[in-house]
């Protein structure tokens, strides 16, 4: 029962992963986990004690995040504000000291993002969730299609059409493809029975990618 409640609570609290949680969300998540363990670990504690605690914390989390959504001041107070650590290729020691970020940690994160030279970085910002965002200088970033002046086709949204032999009619409608067209495309691939298809997807290039059952098995 507690497990089901936890799944529902985590679902209602949002879709963010542990590394993307704001400080107050992380604290609430840890306390909720502890509260769920208490009645499981000690049978003398009524399950209602855990359930009420979990529900109240979930309400607190939703309430705080709604306040943060509506008010910039509350957001800054609860979540903090991003801090610049590198500005135009120059380190900002005061900001690093204030945030207690040492040079080794900063260099490690920059190397992991493939920026070995600080002078190549236009801005490095420590975000509220602890992640480091790096914006390279114009001459240090890889060229894009726009930089090269090349015309590109914008990608389409990829849609799963068949999964495990079952046609997803909602996705078919979303992709704007009729059943007749799908079957015609299948026949072109020598597929007579849709149930033979393990997976079919409308790719970002607008083509249907077919994967048959057993075709990868040797």
């Amino acid at each position: 029962m507690l497990y089901i409640l936890l799944v529902i609570v985590m679902r209602l609290m949002g879709k963010r992963q542990i590394g993307q949680l704001q400080p107050f969300e992380l604290v609430i998540t840890i306390i909720i986990a502890e509260l769920a363990v208490l009645p499981m670990n000690n049978l003398g504690i009524p399950i209602t004690n855990g359930v009420i605690g979990i529900l109240v914390l979930m309400a607190a989390e939703v309430f705080i995040s709604l306040l943060a959504l509506k008010s910039e001041r509350v957001r800054a107070l609860i979540c903090g504000t991003p801090t610049m650590l590198i500005n135009n290729g120059r380190l900002l020691p005061e900001a690093m000291e204030r945030l207690r970020v040492n040079l080794n940690d900063l260099l490690e994160q920059l190397r992991s993002k493939e920026y070995p030279n600080i002078s190549d970085i236009a801005f490095a910002v420590l975000e509220n969730n602890g992640a480091l965002s790096v914006i390279p200088k114009a001459d240090a970033k890889p060229p894009t299609a726009g930089d090269l002046g090349r015309a590109v086709v914008q990608p389409l949204f990829p849609v799963t059409l068949i999964m495990d032999g079952n046609v997803n009619l909602n996705n078919l409608k979303l992709a704007g493809i009729g059943m007749d067209t799908l079957l015609a495309q299948a026949r072109l691939q020598q597929i007579t029975d849709i149930r033979e298809v393990f997976f079919a997807q409308l790719t970002t290039r607008g083509q249907i990618d077919w994967h048959l059952r057993g075709e990868g098995d040797s």
Binding site: P46, T48, I52, L55, A59
Partner: protein, 129 residues
Amino acid sequence: MHKWSGWLLVLVIVAIVTTGGLLSQRYLDRSASDLVSLLKPVQQAVDHQDWGESAGSLAKLEKSWNRVHSNWALIAEHQELDHLELSLVRLREFIESRDEVNARVEAGEAMNQIRQIPERERLTWRNIF
């Protein structure tokens, strides 16, 4: 998700927890008060060494206790309920063996435990800190 669903969720949870808390505290107070009023005649009968009367009054108390026990288990710590249960069992044994001193002590102990359980669940500064 609807624009107001987040606020509504918070409101519903706060309403459920507040109402549930108030109702459960009221139930605890009322049932504890009933148990206390059933235990008092047992104490008086023990004081007068009227063992037949005390056994009869205790049977009434036990009947009432059996009714509220499962409901209290949803709210109060099970260990406290076990202590009270044990105290009532000992009280019955002392009454049956006509042991006045121990029966008095046990009745006092049971009375204290019945009064303590709702107090421990009450939302007070003393319980929070």
